[in-house]
Symmetry: C2
């Protein structure tokens, strides 16, 4: 049993299934168009690290999340690795919010530098897991991700988001 | 301090801000097109009730959720009521999932009949709050919602979902 915003929770993840999803990775600028990270069918992982999160928890997190049977098929549910589907990782510090009055506070969130490292490690280990499982012939299947600390302009299309919460 | 999936949590809510969102309320059938509930700018509320949830907790939930300052403006954050924005309520029993092995179990979720009543009450109290606050001239602002127990085919367009978790 873990506690919401308590010291025992080191990472919070919200999972949604998608038919497609796109995340802006670079906004429109005077001389360039916006850039997007895009996936087709697969899973969106919104992730937030709390103070106390460490590198050694990432392999188990990645393994658990990519192997959870949350993707619908004609014959039941399977994992995003087995589907096989793509993964869009969205850094989402707001998930660490704790209400105070009518506002949210984020005092439990990890510092920016440590968070950035854990996020990079999480993305890279997702990429490794997916590339080990998914064969080269399935080139459209990939891990895409947002930029830590930036605004996450997201467009999502689902056949039912089937939203789950997981804490580590 | 509340516990994830523990007996003290009676409702779990995930909130996302949107530029627009649409939810299928009736699938395509042989003789009719799919029907959608649609909002423009506002907030998507994914909601799940656990065993032990009761009618008397709904007014406080609605009041808290609609008054939390989670909507971005040029000068900071304001509530969906003050924005004013619309609300899309999505019943999402999967939020009650507790991992067991590679699958999810939903033993903590409230029964269907009680859940349906609480959901209807939640939606209706959101409608009341919004109609009290938002003037008639702002007719595009409304509460829309999915059908309890059905598949929630959702399309979401955000300028940053700003995802928050709240438990009651």
């Amino acid at each position: 049993m873990t506690a919401v915003n308590g010291s025992s929770v080191r990472a919070r993840v919200v999972l949604q299934q998608c038919l497609s999803a796109r995340l802006q990775t670079k906004p429109t600028e005077q001389d360039s168009e916006a850039q997007w990270a895009e996936i087709n069918r697969g899973m969106v992982i919104y992730i937030c690290f709390f103070k106390g999160a460490t590198e050694d928890m990432i392999p188990k997190m990645v393994n658990t999340l990519l192997n959870m049977k949350l993707c619908e098929t004609d014959s039941g549910y399977t994992s995003v690795l087995e589907l096989p589907g793509s993964v869009l990782v969205v850094p989402q510090a707001t998930l660490g919010g704790k209400p105070k009055g009518r506002g949210m506070q984020y005092h439990g969130n990890i510092g920016k530098e440590d968070g950035q490292k854990l996020y990079a490690s999480f993305v890279s280990q997702c990429e490794n897991e997916l590339s080990l499982t998914v064969k080269g012939s399935e080139g459209a299947i990939a891990v895409r991700h947002g930029t830590y600390g930036n605004r996450q302009v997201l467009k999502l299309d689902t056949n039912g988001p089937y939203t789950h919460l997981m804490e580590f």
